[in-house]
């Protein structure tokens, strides 16, 4: 036995029924969180979560597990801060070990323009209740003496960093499972290997879904799909402004747990942290070429390997154990899309790009409230799909992390 | 030896460029159907009224003997070079945009002068000596 064996979660699988009050497409973090919050906050339990493969097998189980709220627009800062707070008590609430650990996140800058941008981030964060500070190089060294401030022999000097001390990580699988179990316990049916083939429509409304195991009717259908969301929306005759890009990551072997923060350089295109098991975990920017492919690429690995060893020289001699790929649904303004669609009966939560994991608790909570009350919660009202039509986009590219 | 190249750029309709006459002794790199890079100076005659013909001081180059050039390319160029020489090829070499003119005896590496520092940093010292 190892200390990370999942010892408590009990998954009780349902059987597909012909009718539900709510059908959620996608058994990733957002779908499961929506079901969890419907069941635990609103007593709505006649709910099915449909998962094409196995739960948490998409980006919810492939991301690099960073939880932070250092965004650039007030609407997003408030939303992600709600998620940070929900994460802080998720272990207590679910009585499950999600390996939540506060680490602090450093976004280092290497140019004057970067410095101004991250200093500006600290202002707007602080004004919205998020204590992001702007650090000097000396302060960075106190937090992470491993970082070479003279990156690349002075080509990319570290001039400062924005730092959110409350940023944390959690084990992605365990978050998914804790939420799934919590929903299941209240009677939610989570159905694996259940693929939505089509949406069933009655006039202008969506009234159910057709799966590989038969039809389900439901007055509310929620797409919490990652990656193939454009295809699901296509079934309802909707075009949504999402492009899906691969994003690659790797881990090294296990080493003594010693590197505390999450360190990132947007300029150099990577972020890195150490997992509870001691693996050094690194992620890259998204691939420019849109694709649904999970195939790993080589160029990303070699280019960030080059940059990482300049930034954290000790990493040169760590051995890479495994690389993998997630796919990111990028919205034009780098902000999620949540809420109603122009088609009655069909709700959506998407546009989770490279920032979906950190939003799982708050995203599910808000979607559940919308479903239960029929009113869009104020917290996610700015993220509605119609903002693109209404010229009310929330441009926040610089906050998406590396891409 | 690194040098700034005497280049004339000719941008013209592709069929006009096909018919164009170039100064004898010049090296003509057809970098695109509508774009020719003429190294060595002289007058280009092209029958496209709208052709853009300009002296272009933005390019540097270095001639390298065939054997060392091939050894270098094997360690810095991920794509196959033409097997028959003389030939023109272009693409990323050591992650820089480089154009190659490959003759039986030598290879000319052509790159934007603005990237000279990067080129020097990632090629053998003796090339820029």
């Amino acid at each position: 036995m190892n200390e990370f064996l999942e010892r408590k979660v009990r998954l009780t699988w349902g059987e597909q029924k012909p009718t539900y009050d709510v059908v959620i497409i996608g058994g990733g973090g957002h779908g499961l969180s929506t079901a969890y919050h419907l069941a635990t906050r609103h007593g709505i339990t006649n709910v099915a979560v449909l998962e094409r493969k196995y739960i948490g097998g998409g980006n919810s189980g492939r991301n690099t597990t960073v939880i932070r709220s250092n965004y650039g627009v007030p609407e997003s800062i408030r939303f992600y801060q709600r998620s940070v707070e929900l994460y802080q008590r998720l272990e207590e609430e679910t009585d499950r070990w999600i390996m939540h650990k506060q680490k602090g996140i450093l976004w280092t800058v290497h140019t004057e323009a970067g410095l101004r941008q991250e200093r500006a981030r600290s202002f707007i964060n602080q004004a919205n209740g998020v204590n992001t500070e702007f650090l000097t190089p000396e302060e960075i060294t106190e937090i992470a003496p491993e970082i070479d401030l003279n990156v690349g022999g002075g080509k990319y000097p570290v001039l400062g960093a924005s730092y959110q001390a409350a940023a944390s990580t959690a084990r992605h699988d365990r978050v998914n499972w804790a939420l799934a179990e919590g929903a299941m316990r209240h009677g939610v049916d989570v159905l694996q290997r259940t693929e939505v083939i089509d949406l069933i429509r009655d006039g202008d409304r969506v009234v159910g879904v057709r799966t590989n195991h038969g039809d389900i009717s439901a007055p509310v259908v929620v797409s919490a799909v990652g990656g193939h969301v454009t295809r699901i929306m296509d079934m309802a005759g909707l075009r949504i402004p999402i492009r899906t890009h691969p994003l690659q990551a790797f881990v090294t072997n296990h080493y003594e747990r010693k590197f505390d923060p999450i360190a990132s350089s947007l300029d150099l295109g990577f972020y890195v942290s150490q997992t509870a098991r001691g693996e050094m975990l690194a992620g890259a920017h998204i691939d420019q070429q849109p694709s649904y492919s999970y195939r790993s690429g080589h160029h990303f690995l070699s280019s960030i390997a080059h940059n990482i060893q300049m930034f954290l020289p000790f990493m040169r001699d760590l051995r890479i154990l495994r690389q993998w790929t997630g796919i990111c649904d990028m919205s034009p303004d780098y902000t999620p899309i949540m809420g109603r669609t122009p088609v009655d009966g069909l709700l959506i939560t998407t546009g989770w790009g490279t920032w979906g994991f950190k939003a799982i608790p708050a995203g599910g909570e808000a979607m559940a409230e919308l479903i239960a009350t029929g009113r869009t919660p104020e917290l996610i009202a700015p993220f509605s799909l119609d903002r693109f039509r209404n010229d009310r986009t929330l441009a926040d590219r610089s906050s998406s992390g590396t891409h | 030896m690194l040098e700034v190249l005497a280049v004339t750029r000719v941008v013209a309709a592709p069929d006009s460029l096909d018919r164009a006459t170039f100064p004898s002794g010049s090296i003509v790199l057809r970098t695109a159907p509508d774009d020719a890079m003429v190294i060595g100076g002289g007058t280009v005659q092209v029958d496209d009224l709208h052709a853009i013909v300009r002296e272009d001081a933005g390019w540097s180059g270095v001639w390298v003997n065939r054997a060392p050039s091939e050894a270098y390319l094997q360690a810095s160029c991920s794509w196959p070079r033409p097997s028959v020489r003389p030939a023109f090829a272009q693409g990323a070499i050591a992650h820089l945009p480089v154009k190659l003119w490959l003759t039986e005896e030598r290879t000319l590496f052509v790159f934007p002068t603005a990237l000279t520092a990067d080129f020097v940093e990632r090629t053998p010292q003796e090339w820029s000596a």
Partner: protein, 730 residues
């Protein structure tokens, strides 16, 4: 005299043909504790730290003098290594028709077949120290040899990696003294004594040892060393004492690379392609030696609903360690099949198939190239601080911000603007093409004149700005922002494909020096320019003997001339201007001063003052967007549509009595209402100036005065400085 390497301070002798592992075992050393050694790179039982690099398989490493080997921590993880600088091994790029991975019998046959049919073949074999790291799109193979990283592009890949011998899954399988059949042969061949040896299953032909009856139940040991093998026979358990147990429990295809190449032109031959028949389900014992997962652990998660192989992997961590499932995969699958789930395919195979360090992975990589202007050396000589701005190295300041600013406002200064995007457009459709690209009237630009232009995307949002100038010969000269030039060129070529136009990018071929200040004309006169072009005009003239295209425009707000010239004449021109300007008190200015000067004039910097969704209306540039012009232009439908929507924010100017900084927040009656995009202290005006996004209040009105950094900010029209533009037009 035999050769030695160092193991934790002890000399270990090695002989020809040894791996580090065989030499260690000969000396009675097991670097990672016990476990069934395979000697073929499949199991995790021989890893050690070699020359500071942990998790190295000693069975795949050739020994040499000076090698430093340290044991793998048994109960903990290895420490993070110290900083040893950075570097990468050499890389070699190859191209061929067929790559054959593995040169056993089936691999050699595959190579021969391909060679015979005239195809170019590259082969790799782990026994020759050539380890394939991964198969990627292309298809492409990355391999590592002791000397270098090799990168092969090919048409087709043949995987001939053979099969691994099954690891035992029973109690006691972590003892010292257990080896697979092939491992036994290798050790014996190197003269390593195995002591009293028994075989479980049929031993290799050349190995002479007793075969124990029955099926394996457990290993028993004393002080971590094997003492006996216990099997079950028809008559019950049988205990056979021994020093070494040689195992033949069956083989399992090494198909990781084949599965990694799924969907690519990859074929599999030999044992690697055999059916992955799973062994009987074990009843107890560790199945994942990397992460110490035993059958009870599998049962525990199975009982709680974890039935998918991926979920079991994630819940137990089986298969996520050093050997990436080589040891445990057969047992994971047999366990799940035994418990009633269908026999599930193995979980996804991902690179890297053989581990390599981050340093090794960086082979063939370089720093991102950053272009330099021809004046780079001049700036350094003048003591400039260089910064990467808009993708170029540019002078941020020469160390005297005040002097730089003052020279522009009061005398004359020069600045390096070589990084501007520059393009010539010609052709029968040149004018109509540019009319479509730009939201400004192009046809009314007269020969010899220039006009400021925005660039809009289809959504009607501003993504670049610059200048369009018509030449006497009917061609157009365009400029783009420094940082936006590459994108703008792609944009032009993309949309231009529908038009009969010719385009020449001159961004890196032409340098540009901005001569600016009230005495600019005097300086040019000294440089031989007697009749400079009028405001927003341009002309081809010689400046100090250097042929230039001189554009008269103004970003700084003063009388300005932008001298575009061939980059090989730039140093000469720069020095001449500094020299000739001496009597006028000339001093160059860097980007920091330029940003302040243009802020005083209210000129936007696209990407700093604008955002992804900046319409011309939001940035108060409707004057540069002629929605009524006779021809259609890119973004027009969007601009027309969004102009109907109530405005939510505006880019405006503020005056403050204390300095503010970029990013400072705006408050109106305590409510957040925007932020500063550019801020500065105007020495000329004697107060702070800011450009800022100001949001409309809930009443739909723009706040008037606001607070920035606790100080009152008064909204004032821009430009802050010389609003009538008298100076620029002087």
């Amino acid at each position: 005299m035999s050769q030695m390497f160092d193991f934790a301070g002890t000399d270990v002798a090695f002989i020809d043909g040894d791996s580090v592992l065989t030499a260690l075992v000969r000396a009675g050393i097991y670097p990672a504790g016990g476990g069934a050694l395979c000697c073929e790179g499949d199991c995790p039982h021989c890893v050690a730290t070699i020359d500071g690099i942990s998790y190295v398989r000693t069975c795949q490493t050739a020994p040499h003098e000076n090698l430093k080997v340290q044991p793998h921590p048994i109960d903990d993880y290895p420490p993070l290594p110290p900083d040893r600088g950075y570097g990468a091994p050499p890389i070699e790029y190859r191209q061929c028709d067929v790559v054959v991975i593995g040169q056993g019998e089936s691999g050699r046959e595959a190579s021969d077949r391909a060679t015979t049919s005239g195809r170019m073949v590259e082969s790799f074999d782990a026994n020759r120290g050539e380890e394939v790291i991964g198969i990627y799109d292309g298809p492409m193979v990355i391999a590592r040899t002791p000397e270098r990283i090799i990168h092969v592009d090919c048409e087709e890949i043949v995987v001939a990696t053979g099969a691994a011998e099954l690891q035992p899954a029973c109690p006691g399988n972590d003892l010292v003294g257990i080896v697979t059949g092939r491992a036994a042969l290798r050790l014996v061949a190197q003269g390593v004594g195995l002591g009293v040896t028994v075989a479980v299953g049929k031993p290799p032909n050349d190995l002479d040892c007793e075969v124990v009856e029955g099926t394996l139940v457990r290993f028993e040991g004393v002080d971590g060393r094997l003492a006996a093998v216990v099997t079950r026979t028809e008559s019950g358990e049988e205990r056979t004492p021994c020093d070494t147990a040689v195992l033949n429990l069956g083989i399992y295809p090494r198909d990781g690379l084949a599965r990694m190449g799924n969907g690519l032109a990859v074929s599999v031959v030999g044992d690697a392609g055999r059916d992955a028949t799973v062994p009987p389900c074990p009843s107890e014992g560790v199945i994942c030696p990397c992460n110490n997962v035993d059958v009870d652990d599998l049962q525990a998660v199975w009982d709680r609903g974890f039935h998918e192989i991926e979920l079991v992997k994630r819940a137990t961590l089986a298969g996520t360690g050093t050997c990436q499932g080589m040891a445990c995969m057969p047992y994971l699958r047999s366990f799940l099949a035994d418990r009633g789930a269908a026999l599930q395919p193995p979980f996804t195979a991902r690179p890297v198939a053989r581990q390599l360090t981050i340093g090794e992975m960086s082979a063939g990589e370089y720093d991102r190239p950053v272009p330099r202007t021809p004046l780079h050396g001049e700036h350094l000589a003048l003591g400039a601080t260089m910064d990467r701005i808009g993708g170029w190295w540019r002078p941020w300041t020469y160390g005297e911000l005040g002097a730089e600013y003052e020279a522009v406002r009061e005398r004359v200064s020069i600045g390096d603007v070589s990084t501007l995007g520059k393009m010539i457009v010609s052709g029968p459709d040149a004018e109509s093409f540019l009319e479509y690209i730009y939201p400004t009237n192009i046809s009314t630009i007269e020969s010899g004149r220039s006009r400021y232009v925005l660039m809009l995307n289809e959504r009607g949002y501003v993504f670049d700005d610059g200048l369009v100038s018509r030449e006497a010969d009917g061609t157009f000269s365009l400029t783009f922002t420094s940082g936006g030039a590459s994108h703008a060129e792609m944009w032009m070529r993309d949309w231009g494909s529908k038009y009969d136009v010719r385009m020449l990018n001159q961004s890196m071929s032409l340098a540009a020096i901005n001569v600016t200040g009230p005495l600019a004309k005097e300086l040019l006169a000294k440089a031989g320019v007697v009749d400079p072009p009028p405001y927003m005009g341009h002309a081809d003239v010689q400046v100090a003997g250097v042929p230039c295209k001189v554009f008269r425009l103004s970003f700084t707000g003063e009388l300005s001339f932008e001298l575009h010239h061939a980059i090989d004449r730039s140093v000469e021109l720069w020095r001449s201007l500094l020299d000739l300007g001496g009597e006028f008190g000339i001093y160059p200015h860097g980007l920091e001063a330029l940003q302040l000067l243009r802020l005083e004039k209210g000129h936007i910097l696209v990407g700093i003052d604008t955002d992804f969704d900046s319409t011309p209306r939001r940035i108060q540039h409707e004057w540069a967007c002629k929605i009524d012009k006779p021809t259609d232009f890119l973004g027009r439908p969007s601009v027309v549509r969004t102009n109907e929507i109530p405005l939510d924010r505006l880019l405006v100017g503020f005056r403050t009595e204390r300095p503010t900084v970029d990013g400072a927040l705006l408050y109106s009656n305590g409510e957040y209402c925007g932020y500063v995009t550019s801020a500065g202290w105007s020495p000329t005006l004697g107060h702070g100036i800011s450009m800022a996004w100001l949001y409309h209040g809930s009443d739909g009105q723009l706040p008037g005065d606001v607070e920035i950094d606790g100080t009152t900010a008064t909204r004032v029209p821009m430009p802050f400085y010389d609003p009538e533009g008298v100076k620029a037009r002087a």
